[in-house]
């Protein structure tokens, strides 16, 4: 095997073969392989979960070293989180309903389901906001307060982003941008929605199921 000098083959010649090897065209620059957007979103969800994991770690580390958790005379109630949880579960179904309607090319049902989902989302946002506002402690009062607001606020940010994404994509759906052949962006927005519900699940589990609340 002898090595030929580097200059013996120049910049990609346009022949079909070169030194006995087939030369093929590269992927066209504007062609996006299937699953690219889904993979990118998935990776960002993983990163986002690691951020949540940092907050949850802080919660459990501090809880382990505290004489009482939550601190004495701190009551947050479980009524609103229960309502929020049930609403989130309902919205998880309606948002899938949007996607499946678009897949069936059923524009009218899709829009009805979309409006319903957005209303549920705004209810969740509103209830969480109200929950933070009526808590009788602030971020600065104790570590419990800081982490309580951080965790609930973390979900609030996510449901906010999900509402925004679904509103924008919903407007495009109204304009008839999506159909049986083409609904990936809508699917991605629905994934963001479901992810925000997943965050809620973790937050509720950490804040309520693993802490003594009267």
């Amino acid at each position: 095997m002898s090595l030929v000098p580097a200059s013996s083959y120049g910049p990609a010649p346009l022949a079909e073969t070169y030194r006995g090897r087939a030369l093929g065209p590269p992927r066209p620059p504007d062609e996006v392989p299937t699953g690219t957007n889904v993979l990118g979103a998935l990776l960002l969800f993983v990163a986002d979960l690691m951020l949540l994991a940092a907050l949850v770690t802080a919660w459990f580390t501090i809880k382990a070293g505290s004489p009482s958790w939550p601190p004495p005379r701190t009551s947050v109630g479980t009524y609103i989180p229960t309502v929020v949880g049930i609403t989130a579960i309902m919205s998880a179904f309606t948002v899938q309903w949007v996607v499946s309607s678009v897949r069936r090319n059923d524009q009218r049902t899709a829009i009805a389901a979309l409006v319903l989902t957005l209303i549920l989302g705004i209810c969740i946002f509103n209830a969480q906001w109200y929950y933070m506002a009526r808590a009788r402690f602030g971020v600065a009062d104790h570590a419990y307060g800081a982490l309580f607001h951080l965790l609930i606020g973390y979900h609030l940010v996510h449901i906010g982003i999900a509402i925004l994404a679904l509103t924008l994509l919903g407007a495009r759906a109204l304009a008839g941008h999506f159909g049986r052949e083409n609904y990936e962006p809508l699917k991605a927005a629905a994934a963001v929605w479901q992810y925000s519900n997943f965050v809620l699940l973790i937050v509720i589990t950490v804040v309520f199921l693993f802490s003594a609340h009267a």
């Binding site: 590269p26 940092a54 501090i62 570590a143």
Partner: protein, 567 residues
């Protein structure tokens, strides 16, 4: 940025004039716009990295000037320790991180035969996040309380909250670092998606070049650790800005936990340091194989070893946390285990070099830098093994720690980066960096690293504590401190030579015009013109192994020996 202004029309005189397909006019917006070209974005990342490399070097020089002689009064203790904070922050978050993201952004799509990144505009957003983060960190030095940032880059001694840290400097610093890391998360997700979805036909995951593989592993580690650091920075911000007590001790109203921050920080920062070393291992793997004129001795083993570094990097973090003494043996095992795959990669290189066809090629600039990398890394591996098994914990509190971290992470990652720029520069910008100056750089950087950081190990044995800002004249520490200061001057000279080389050869276009494949490379990037057009490739060769271009060069005119080149 001037560095990226390339003239595609200039080819070497001996290059055959090959008709290129007429390139479509560059759109001014959208994913395909010239500003979103991954080579441009990479160059801009590189510009930022070099700025902070110089800044970090100047800060280090100031610190070493203070410690060069006993009883010096150039800096007081507080000034020294605030400079230490900025030296660490600049080097890790604002130099090494953007440097490797920059090289990966420019080279990875070329190496896998892709025309673009998966999300071209996301990388631009990531770059601007890094820029703004860098600006915020810089601003923190000049903001109120900037002189009181004495906590070190781990922000742990002491945790910057409460009355002693009044002023917005802390907030600028933590938000700045969080911005840089947020950019790193986006860039990592983008690079991982590109590597998994945009590979050329035939380039299976098993055939992915080692640099691309190292970027994949490093990206996954970054994706898992940077968000934890962002969460930590966010909580520090809440503590400082809103007066919360997450990281402060127990108070009557229910405080937080002072042991939380070191655990949170080192759980993420420890693997993160390996994520910054990994691309250097990948880049040097490419350099070694290409200049040995043969494929790497065992490609599969190198892939497995790089992956193992990424996995085992998560095992040793507790050895940096003083409050986790009870579980020390566990983390010591982790800290030792991660060194084994690194050593395995180095052995793989040595086996490759053993059968090198042309020994004279070992004197070429990228190869000299690669060999220097091995020398420094070997010292780092030894020092790390010793501190991993040190049962007293002293070697984590004295200058052994300084020597070990610089010899294992910072010096090799920097030398590997310089080697990568020398190796891929001709492809990236179509201009060679000066080879003569490059050899001088190799000498200064490798010599400076050894001169600066081997004495640090001796100082560790003499029990000089980390963060010492002054020492009395009758001390045994004097000689080694003088050597370290001299080494730091040599290192900064090496960095200056590198930056000036880049400036003259590439920005001012004084460098030799590079042909398509100046090094007789093995991987697909050397099939694209130098510099590559916006879409990178007009045609791609068939890929049947990890070294498609080596196959092409050694192929018989008839398509026989289909698996040629597979090690």
């Amino acid at each position: 940025m001037a560095m990226t202004e390339t003239s595609p029309g200039e080819l070497a005189p001996d290059e055959p004039a090959v008709p290129q397909e007429a390139a479509p006019p560059a759109p001014t917006a959208g994913p395909g716009a010239a500003g979103n070209d991954h080579k441009n974005v990479g160059s801009q990342y590189l510009g930022m990295a070099l700025m902070f490399l110089l800044a970090g070097g100047v800060v280090a020089l100031l610190m070493r000037a203070q410690l060069a002689s006993p009883d010096a009064d150039l800096l007081n203790d507080r000034e020294y320790r605030s400079l230490l904070t900025f030296h660490g922050t600049f080097s890790v978050f604002l130099f090494l991180l953007p440097a490797w993201i920059g090289v990966a952004t420019a080279i990875v799509p070329l190496q896998i035969g892709a025309g673009r990144l998966a999300f071209p505009r996301l990388q631009v957003l990531a770059m601007w996040l890094a820029f703004s983060g860098g600006a915020l960190v810089t601003a923190s030095a000049f903001a109120t309380g900037g002189r009181r940032l004495i906590s070190g880059w781990s922000l742990a001694d002491p945790i910057p909250e409460g009355g002693a840290f009044r002023g917005e400097a802390v907030e600028f610093l933590v938000i700045g670092i969080a911005f840089v890391l947020a950019g790193a998360v986006l860039a990592a997700a983008n690079l991982i998606t590109t590597i998994i979805r945009f590979r050329a036909d035939g380039l299976t995951m098993r055939r992915v070049p080692l640099f691309t593989w190292s970027v994949l592993v490093s990206g996954i580690v970054t994706l898992l650790t940077a968000p934890v650091l962002i969460g930590g920075m966010g909580m520090l911000y809440v503590d400082h800005h809103f007066g919360a007590h997450i990281f402060s001790g127990f108070t009557s109203s229910g405080g937080g936990s002072p042991v939380l921050w070191p655990r949170l920080f080192w759980f993420a920062a420890y693997p993160f340091l390996f994520a910054l070393l990994l691309p250097a291992l990948g880049a040097v793997s490419e350099v070694v194989a290409v200049f040995a004129r043969r494929p790497i001795a065992d490609h599969a083993k190198a892939v497995a070893a790089l992956t193992a570094v990424g996995v085992l990097a998560f095992a040793g973090w507790g050895s940096e946390v003083p409050t986790l003494q009870d579980a020390r043996w566990l983390f010591a095992a982790g800290a030792l285990a991660v060194l084994a795959p690194i050593a395995s990669v180095v052995l793989n290189w040595l086996l490759t070099l053993k059968d090198a066809e042309d020994r004279s090629l070992l004197r070429s600039t990228p190869m000299m830098l690669a060999l220097g990398f091995v020398a420094v890394l070997a010292a780092g591996l030894g020092a790390s093994a010793v501190s991993a098994v040190d049962a007293t914990g002293d070697l984590h509190a004295n200058y052994w720690q300084v020597g070990q971290q610089h010899l294992l992470f910072f010096a090799p990652a920097t030398i590997g980066f310089v080697a990568a720029v020398h190796y891929w520069g001709p492809k990236w910008w179509g201009r060679h960096l000066s080879a003569g100056v490059g050899k001088l750089e190799a000498l200064l950087l490798v010599g400076g690293s050894l001169l600066a950081f081997l004495p640090a190990l001796v100082l560790g044995l003499q029990d000089m504590p980390v963060r010492t800002s002054s020492y009395p004249g009758d001390d045994e520490w004097q000689a080694m401190n003088a050597a370290m200061s001299l080494g730091s001057v040599v290192l900064v000279l090496g960095v200056l030579a590198f930056v000036l080389n880049l400036l003259f050869s590439v920005v001012l276009k004084r460098g030799t015009v590079a042909p398509t494949d100046p090094w007789e490379g093995h991987t697909l990037e050397w099939f694209a013109p130098s510099p590559p057009p916006r879409h990178n490739f007009d045609k791609l060769p068939e890929v049947r192994s990890a070294t498609p271009l080596l196959d092409l060069r050694t192929a018989e005119p008839a398509p026989a020996g289909a698996e040629a080149g597979e090690a």
